[in-house]
Homo-oligomer: 141 residues x 4
């Protein structure tokens, strides 16, 4: 399976030398930065950031998780796939996968639970309809 | 329940202004930095870092997870509890909890799976006996 | 000369293990995070953050500089001194100094040029009078 | 003048959403991460990293400086130029320039003083001859 077949959004970035810690590997927290960048690319594509600016209803990251499979090192270039999964009234799960060019392998996978939040009313909110439709459409391919 | 009663290691740090992202809250990846600092304090206490320097057998973080319960903001001071759990032949789970002074509440909890690894032989290893004993002793209080 | 005698604001923090890079020393960009934390403590003390919330006139960092004198490593605890210098109509220079407990020595010093900015009008601004007075008073001891 | 005409090494990267701080701009310390990535690309090109692995003589960053000219925001893509300057017996200055695609303008410039260091002997060292030659050649175009 290629990254393209399972993940409609793919974010690509070089690994920075300074992202390695004293073990000589990319530090664990940086994987979550990579996930975040893919998540934001996804949000941008389905109009969730525009929606937040317009109506005040935006995403909150409720939980997140990463499984480290192979250590990343500089120099490398990674591609991070993101896909939405288990779409519910007010939330969905985002799955991530990090592919290393240097390793020719998956370096990590993970997920995050995204909950819609009304930043004006300061409470949970249903997913805005246009965002939901855009997710369904994007995931349908 | 106080943090002290459930977590033998407590790491304390100020929240840095620069750890907030453009939503005005401490960015999600920083919670994993807080977890890491508590984990390292734990490793130091049970001699896992000394062991790694001596024998080449050290810890690897295999998976980690965080549940974000309340947003942290600057200025604040946090205490991060760490405790080892489910000690097995070659691995254990570390549980974390972040307590915010400003909120007077738990801001996040999480966990990580720690696996012993022989960095010389480049393969998994049983937990060194002295590290295991120190964990059991520390957790017994 | 002690840090106290030259710097009215002193920010204290533990060095995080994850702040070290693959050379085994605290990465260079982290020193600027330390400076930033001391700068924000200074701004807070002289009411510059309150002023920004009230009037929209706040600080901008125009340039900054660091001289690395001794490498920092985990574990350590540092104290970062900040003092304002060369106060002008719309700007001042902030001097920093990082003292390492483990080394018993100065690990780095640096400076930054702070310019007052009217975020509403989107242009440079004179330093608000109350902020100027608070700086003069704080520096007079 | 284009970036290409003045800087033999150009490092390109997307701006990450999480690099913005609570002012809604890329945080000041991240500019030094961008500089570092360009510096490492330069070191790699002139064989300074290979040299360090071989002989133990590598680079140390002694001082660095940044002038912030325009705030960067997500989404953007930047190109960071690096060039060596004022080559001396044991040191040289590296100049940096950050160009923003979204702004169509220079967002920041800066410099760093690089000193050769013998990590085995723990003292300053002359620049290795092969590194010096590679720098002269690269800069000659």
């Amino acid at each position: 399976m290629t990254l393209e077949s399972g993940f409609p959004i793919i974010f690509e970035t070089p690994v920075a030398w300074g992202e390695m810690d004293s073990m000589g590997h990319v530090n664990n927290i940086v994987y979550f930065r990579y996930f975040e960048s893919a998540r934001l690319a996804y949000f941008e594509r389905v109009g969730f950031l525009d929606e937040m600016n317009r109506s005040g209803i935006g995403p909150i990251l409720a939980t997140t998780r990463c499984r480290f499979r192979k250590p990343l090192t500089y120099p490398d270039r990674i591609r991070v796939g993101a896909t939405a999964h288990d779409l519910q009234e007010d939330r969905f799960t985002m799955l991530y996968c990090i592919e290393s060019e240097a390793l020719g392998a998956i370096a990590a996978d993970g997920e995050g639970l995204i909950v819609a939040y009304d930043y004006n009313e300061k409470r949970k909110s249903p997913l805005p309809n246009n965002v939901r439709r855009a997710i369904v459409e994007l995931e349908a391919g």
